[in-house]
């Protein structure tokens, strides 16, 4: 089955934390526990009305006072719970008919054990960092009169070009950006407790929102 990467189905969840479990052979496997969201269709974007085909999912139900008025009004109009987190993903236009507002996405299709998934989240913010931590640059010597312990070094030539080239790597803020962990194996999908265990680490803090998609590699086979 070939589905373009842009139209992969998505599932929203929340990172609970990491632990380990034992598999059938008795080996300890490091897993991340992801709590799955409500995953209810909140909006359908059509090519006629919006210029593209997409499905919007909602999760993370909040109190009414914690939502802003445009968001609240939109959800109230459709008679939906107060979702604090909305995210949409593209689908093929012909697939739109299969969905309707208020329905819950079937999770078991994607989250079958041994399947591979990609998990996207916002990485933990590290603050303003230097070149050594940020870009794995080599540090300067510690002794022999050297003072360039963790300096960035030269940032360009002299008269020609007479300027610093655009895109030069400099010390800057690190982390707090969108990161995808690819090809994580689904170890267990617990429908009762509404959690999924994937092997290995996923980006972000505990309690951070995550997007789970079938991995590209597997999906394009």
């Amino acid at each position: 089955m070939t589905i373009p990467a842009r139209t992969r189905p998505e599932i929203l969840g929340k990172k609970l934390g990491m632990t380990q479990i034992f598999n059938a052979d008795g080996d300890a496997i490091p897993v991340t526990v992801i709590e799955l969201g409500e995953n209810i269709v909140t909006d359908i974007k059509t090519p006629v009305k919006n210029g593209y085909a997409a499905i919007q999912l909602g999760t993370n139900i909040k109190k009414e006072k914690h939502l802003n008025k445009p968001k609240m009004g939109n959800l109230k109009k459709k008679n939906l719970p107060m979702f604090g987190y909305l995210k949409e993903y593209r689908v093929k236009p012909e697939e739109l008919d299969a969905h309707k507002i208020g329905e819950q996405i079937d999770l078991s299709k994607i989250l079958t054990p041994k399947e591979l998934v990609d998990v996207t989240g916002m990485s933990i913010g590290k603050g303003f960092q230097g070149m050594v931590k940020l870009y794995n640059k080599q540090r300067g010597p510690k002794s022999h009169g050297s003072k360039s312990y963790r300096q960035p070094g030269s940032i360009g030539a002299h008269t020609y070009p007479g300027r610093v080239l655009p895109g030069k790597k400099m010390p800057s803020r690190m982390g707090n950006e969108k990161v995808t962990a690819r090809n994580l194996k689904v170890i267990e999908f617990n429908k009762e407790k509404n959690v999924v265990l994937v092997k290995g680490a996923v980006p972000g803090v505990e309690g951070g929102m995550l997007t789970i998609r079938p991995s590209i590699k597997k999906w394009n086979v």
């Binding site: 609970l16 934390g17 632990t19 380990q20 479990i21 034992f22 052979d25 008795g26 300890a28 526990v33 709590e35 267990e188 617990n190 407790k193 959690v195 265990l197 505990e206």
Partner: protein
């Protein structure tokens, strides 16, 4: 099941999400003997060789217990053909068939790393005299004022 003994482990446990606790509770064994640092134990380990499965005994002194809950491990040290061997086991691992406490040694510290520098007789730990409660309980002590044998638990 053993309780987490250090303040750090207690902190980790309290921070753990309830749903994670529920999930790993199926992976935790309930019939684990009360092993302590200094105990001489026999660990029966399941070994897979192709399709066959057999069990093997490993005997030695516990020199370290680390971690909490499902991450809890213990290190067993023994001298094998003149060379010190240390094996780390997960306490809750399904690969462990049985843990038998053979002797309870008296130790005044939590990690017995000093045994690595010792050879021969000096590696032996003083044994805790087993009472009616079985191996592993504390020794009986005499309290002078009353002159009676009192069990300290």
């Amino acid at each position: 099941m053993l309780k987490s003994n250090t303040a750090f482990n207690r902190f980790r446990d309290s921070q753990m999400h309830l749903k994670i606790k529920e999930i790993i509770s199926n992976n935790l064994k309930k019939d684990i003997p009360n092993v302590r640092v200094g105990d001489t134990v026999k660990v029966t380990v399941r070994i897979k060789e192709g399709a066959k499965e057999r069990s093997q005994n490993y005997e030695g002194v516990i020199i370290k217990i680390k971690g909490s809950s499902i991450n809890k491990t213990f290190t067993v040290r023994r001298i094998f053909q003149g060379i010190g061997v240390e094996r780390v086991f997960f306490l809750h691992s399904p690969k462990i068939e049985k843990i038998t406490v053979l002797r309870s040694g008296k130790s005044r510290r939590a990690k017995l790393y000093y045994l690595r520098e010792r050879v021969g007789k000096s590696t032996k730990l003083k044994e805790i005299i087993s009472s009616s409660q079985g191996v592993g309980s504390f020794p009986k002590e005499v309290i002078p004022e009353e002159g009676k044998l009192v069990e300290i638990t």
